[in-house]
Amino acid sequence: MLEMPSIDAGLCNGCGLCVEVCTCHAFALVDNVAVVVETEECGFCTDCEMVCPTGAIRCGYEVVFIEYHEQRQIVIE
């Protein structure tokens, strides 16, 4: 499963800024609440988190050492 931004629907005010700022169509408004659309185009730029006025969007990072990262890459391949 591709890692995508997450949305707290309870905080979302339906402003739609995330939909407008995203360049890879990873967001949509459904019943006035933003939802994430999984897409490989998402580069995790975090513009959505930056522009969200309510803090509803989280682009959370894992912080790992390179040895862990390289092991995970081998598993994926």
Binding site: E3, V64, I66, Y68
Partner: protein, 229 residues
């Protein structure tokens, strides 16, 4: 295009004005629209022509160094103003502004701003308060960038976070950190954390791989984390 009184009422510049006052201000206001990505203002451009207020959409105000590095100063959303400083002090724009989304702005020309302030003391008080808030925000940012070695504190946070949750091999990473989380943990603004992460990546201490911050050179990151006042 009809200027919406309801929108004017929501702009902090014009808060606490009654309908009659807003109606008297409306003739001074014009509307402009921009597409996503449009450059609205370029820093150091001469002669500011108007103060602008965001009606819908979002924009970012930023400065660009001679090397092309960008420092975001703030994100501008509905109701917020920009280009105030050059209108009031007559100097060039201190920052550039681009539209992050399709953007609608209301603007008031420089000479008309003066007329409004003279005719409506409440607006003048609102402007003073808003400019004072901006000064406080930017003084804090200057302090962070100049004296607090935020990059070093971010480096230390990354080392601590990775170290707490892994043994350098097969352990599971800990809870996710957003840039906002990091900003709160090191006591700075999200925009400054963004610059710090870019700086650490440019120096080779970390690599940003989508949702993962990879500590590529632990020793370098440790040296950088030691540079804290």
């Amino acid at each position: 295009m009809t200027i919406d009184i309801g929108v004017l009422q929501s702009v902090p510049y014009f808060s606490n004005l009654d309908r009659e006052e807003l109606e008297s201000i409306r003739p001074y206001v014009f509307e402009r629209s921009y597409r996503k990505g449009d450059l609205i203002l370029l820093e150091e451009e001469e002669e500011a022509e108007a103060v602008y207020f965001v009606v819908s959409g979002a924009a970012k105000a930023f400065k660009t160094s001679a090397e092309g590095k960008e420092q975001i100063l703030c994100i501008l959303r509905a109701g917020e103003s920009f280009n105030d400083v050059p209108v009031f002090d007559g100097g060039p724009n201190p920052a550039s502004v681009t539209a992050m989304t399709p953007l609608t702005l209301y603007g008031v020309g420089k000479l008309d701003v003066e007329a409004i302030l003279r005719g409506h003391p409440n607006v003048a008080m609102n402007v003073i308060r808003l400019l004072a808030e901006k000064v406080r925000h930017f003084v804090g940012m200057v302090e962070d960038l100049s004296f607090r070695h935020v990059t070093g504190r971010v480096a230390r946070l990354l080392l601590k976070y990775a170290g707490d949750h892994q043994d350098g091999g097969g352990s599971t990473p800990g809870p996710r950190l957003t840039q906002q989380d990091m900003a709160a943990m090191v006591g700075t603004a999200r925009e400054v954390v963004g610059r710090s992460l870019k700086a650490l990546e440019e120096d080779g201490a970390i690599k940003m791989d989508r949702h993962r911050i990879v500590i590529a050179d632990k020793e370098l990151l440790e040296r950088m984390s030691g540079a804290v006042s």
